[in-house]
């Protein structure tokens, strides 16, 4: 990159800069600034560390012992609380006989301690000696020499220590006497607590007896309940029997339903057979001729005619022959089949149920070959439906023949007078001019 002259120039510049730096270092040592009083006090209040103080005498730091000594050393020299690993390391040093000066020196002259830069007067020579005695052989000799040189001082310390120990023993005696008094008080308190404990125990015994009695009562009740529960199998048997009975009953009802259905079919078959009897046919022929004559005089073909209870359809066949648009409703399937074989329009249904589904004012004529419902409510409803389905002025013709055989055997059949009253009361005008004795003829008003 750079040519040789450039390198040489830069090297020369660097050596000049280095010389300048060395000179500056001597002129102006780096500042170690104490904090303002207020902020120092504030910092000391927050964590107990006096960050503003950067100058100590060694005696200020060596007065404390063991953990308190190490904690204080961290706070004074590193301006922070001791971290656990660091504290442990220094405590172990003390435990193996290292001097406090060595611990203080370790902290002060660590990289962190150098950065903080606290001055400890008298520390450096002591720390240096502490380190030197660790040098093999020489250190051992040095330690011996130091020990010999310090013998007078050690003797003085020993005498002082004896005095201090005597004073300590005196203090300890006094302390032990105080402790003995406290122990006596504690023993009295213990006796009192023992008495309270006995009372409590007696109280618990009474409660335990009471509980035992209650447990016995509960046991008896539980036995009674258990006896009651033993009846449950009988109850289960009864329930199963009722269930069995209800299933049997259901089957019986089904059989009855099927028998009734078969009977109804037989009845309808019988009715159909009766319908085809020669007398009945002749009778219907004669009646049909009369009715047709009466109807032709009142409603012209191709009027729309619905016959309710149309049987095998001989009446609507007659109407069709004479130009009417006729259809029938018949519940007997045998008769409907016969009618349909003749090409007639006949629906299988209950006549008045079918009429209820017809549109309003849709029919010109309604004939009731199958008669009317028996009870009064159904009859009133039937007339209302007849009136609704007929066009205004439309005609109704109700068969009242006693001997007629159809699928519906109505109680009203054959009662011309009752039927005439009911028709008149339902918004129809009776027309007696046709002189029909077996039917009622009326016009919607």
């Amino acid at each position: 990159m750079s040519s040789d002259p450039t390198d040489e120039y830069l090297e020369r510049v660097k050596s000049e800069i280095r010389a300048e730096a060395d000179a500056a270092r001597l002129r102006a040592p780096l500042p170690r600034k104490a904090l303002p009083e207020s902020s120092t006090a504030e910092a000391a209040r927050s964590d107990g560390i006096d960050r503003g103080r950067l100058d100590y005498a060694i005696g200020e730091l060596t007065g404390l012992q063991y953990v308190a000594f190490v904690d204080n050393a961290f706070r004074a020299l590193l301006k922070r609380p001791a971290d656990e690993p660091g504290k442990d390391r220094q405590l172990r040093l003390l435990a193996v006989g290292a001097g406090k000066a060595e611990v203080l020196g370790n902290l002060r002259f660590s990289s962190e301690g150098r950065r903080v830069g606290v001055r400890v007067r008298g520390l450096l020579p002591r720390y240096a000696l502490a380190k030197m005695v660790r040098i093999p052989v020489i250190g051992y000799v040095l330690e011996w020499l130091l020990a010999l040189a310090a013998v007078p001082l050690l003797l003085r310390h020993q005498r002082g220590a004896d005095t201090q120990n005597a004073a300590r023993f005196h203090d300890v005696d006094a302390h032990l006497a105080r402790r003995a008094e406290e122990l006596q008080a504690l023993a009295a308190r213990f006796d009192e607590m023992k008495r309270e404990l006995d009372e409590t125990r007696a109280h618990f015994a009474v409660r335990a007896e009471s509980l035992e009695q209650r447990a016995t009562t509960l046991e008896l009740r539980a036995q009674a309940l258990s006896d009651s529960i033993s009846d449950v199998p009988d109850l289960r048997h009864h329930i199963l029997a009722v269930n069995h009975w209800s299933v049997s009953l259901q089957r019986s009802f089904t059989e009855i339903d099927e028998a009734a259905k078969a009977d109804a079919e037989r009845v309808q078959s019988l009715i159909a057979a009766m319908y085809g009897a020669p007398d009945a046919i002749a009778d219907r022929e004669a009646r049909g001729a009369r009715w047709l004559a009466a109807l032709q005089a009142r409603a012209n073909a191709p009027a729309r005619v619905l016959d309710l209870g149309s049987g095998d359809g001989d009446w609507i066949a007659r109407l069709g022959t004479h130009g009417y648009d006729a259809a029938g409703v018949e519940p007997n399937p045998f008769l409907v089949a016969r009618a349909r074989e003749r090409g007639l329009t006949v629906v299988i249904d209950e006549p008045f149920a079918w009429l209820a589904r017809c549109a309003d004012e849709d029919l010109d004529v309604i004939t009731c070959s199958g008669g009317l419902p028996g009870n009064d409510d159904a009859l009133a409803d039937a007339f209302a439906q007849l009136r609704r389905a007929l066009k205004p002025g439309g005609w109704v013709l109700i068969d009242c023949t006693r001997s007629q055989a159809t699928g519906v055997l109505s109680a009203s059949r054959g009662d011309v007078a009752r039927t005439s009253r009911a028709v008149a009361a339902s918004g129809f005008s009776l027309d007696a001019s046709a002189s029909l004795t077996d039917a009622v003829l009326a016009q919607r008003r």
Binding site: M1, S2, T6, D7, Y9, L10, V13, K14, E16, I17, R18, E20, A21, D22, A24, R25, R27, A28, P29, L30, P31, R32, K33, L35, R51, L54, K79, R80, D83, E112, R115, V116, G117
Partner: protein
């Protein structure tokens, strides 16, 4: 391209995205895989799917190794593709001892994988600097499989930015030291503070330090100790901290500074040095780790972080315009010849070509 995370303003992410663009320009099909992304306009796949994308033994997986991550190590052991280890270096854990147990553990985990990567003889070890490659060569990696490619960077965007000095102090002839980089024990901030104190004592009591960079909350105790040290040295009013400088502000900071003072004790490459070189700002640096290689003489490089030497260097630069101009010229020449984007693209092309010559 595999890396732990992608985010804007992150050196490894910048390198990854620029490499991706260059490789695509060469005609390669590049897919990114990362655990997490933030504000990146690029599809990124989850790392666990990477093996589904490998179709041929000729495919290449480039892992940006900058932290301890077990997945890439296992992947490199089993996958049937060529392996490129793009190494951005990991700070040795000793720097963080006493400051952050988490950093110590993370850095130790990261460096613990160096042996395994060196032993597996990857097809290419692509270090940011020769200093980075030494980590593998010392552990037995074949030097023939090692190549140097400085990291891709955004210095060109810095050069194009209009300086914005609104958040900077007025220059008014006051000496100003500049340091750019995260606040961390390896950056030697205590020595920097001492250097500022020495400047104030020997050069000008108004001297200032502009410190651009963030402090990770996990290193809060380090930050507290720094502030304490500033108080002890009496410089707390003379340090201007700028945590989140934009490109325009950074450009203004380089322009306003007498020198970039880089006393960092560990750098795998040191991007701020090339920023300063590109912008013509003189550099005073500690010759540690990769710094001497990155500078190649384009700065005043010292063997010790001596505060008086830094202060005297600043004084000399202020009083010697020829020296300042020379260092500025040397820096710009070094940038253009070694770190400008076209040079890096050529370097990447050569590295990829070299990959083809390495026996499997």
């Amino acid at each position: 391209m595999l890396l732990p995370g992608l985010a804007p303003y992150d050196a490894v992410s910048n390198d990854t995205l620029s490499m991706t663009a260059a490789l695509r320009a060469f005609g390669h099909d590049v897919t990114l895989f990362a655990l997490h992304t933030k504000d990146i306009d690029e599809p990124v796949q989850p790392p666990e799917t990477i093996e589904h994308w490998i179709e041929s033994p000729d495919d290449v997986v480039i892992y940006h190794y900058c932290t301890g991550w077990e997945f890439p190590l296992q992947l490199f052991r089993r996958m049937k593709a060529r392996r490129v280890l793009r190494y951005h270096n990991i700070t040795p854990p000793e720097f963080f001892e006493g400051w952050s147990a988490g950093y110590v553990a993370a850095c130790a985990d990261g460096r613990a994988q160096l042996d395994a990567y060196a032993a597996m003889q990857c097809e290419l070890y692509l270090g940011d600097s020769p200093f980075n490659n030494r980590d593998f060569i010392e552990r037995g990696a074949d030097p023939a499989r090692c190549a140097v490619l400085p990291p891709f960077h955004h210095v060109e965007q810095l050069l194009a930015a209009d300086p914005d000095a609104r958040r900077l102090p007025d220059a008014d002839g006051v000496p100003m030291l500049l340091m750019v980089g995260r606040i961390a024990p390896s950056k030697n901030d205590f020595a920097l503070i001492d250097a500022l104190a020495a400047c104030r004592e020997t050069l000008d009591p108004r001297a200032r330090l502009l410190r651009v960079g963030k402090l990770d909350p996990n290193l809060a105790t380090y930050g507290i100790a720094m502030r304490e040290h500033m108080r002890v040295r009496g410089v707390e009013q003379h340090v201007i901290a700028l945590e989140d400088a934009s490109g325009a502000e950074l450009r203004a900071a380089y322009a306003a500074a007498d020198a970039l003072v880089m006393l960092s004790a560990h750098e795998g490459f040191c991007v701020p040095l090339i920023e300063a070189m590109a912008l013509g700002t003189p550099i005073i640096a500690l010759g540690s780790s990769a710094i001497p290689w990155t500078l190649q003489g384009a700065g005043l490089v010292w063997d010790e972080a001596d505060p008086y030497i830094v202060a005297s260097s600043i004084a000399r630069l202020r009083g010697d315009p020829d020296l300042r101009a020379l260092l500025s010229d040397l820096g710009m020449a070094r940038y253009r010849s070694a770190f400008a984007p076209p040079v890096l693209i050529d370097g990447l092309r050569e590295a990829m070509a070299r990959l083809d010559t390495v026996p499997a």
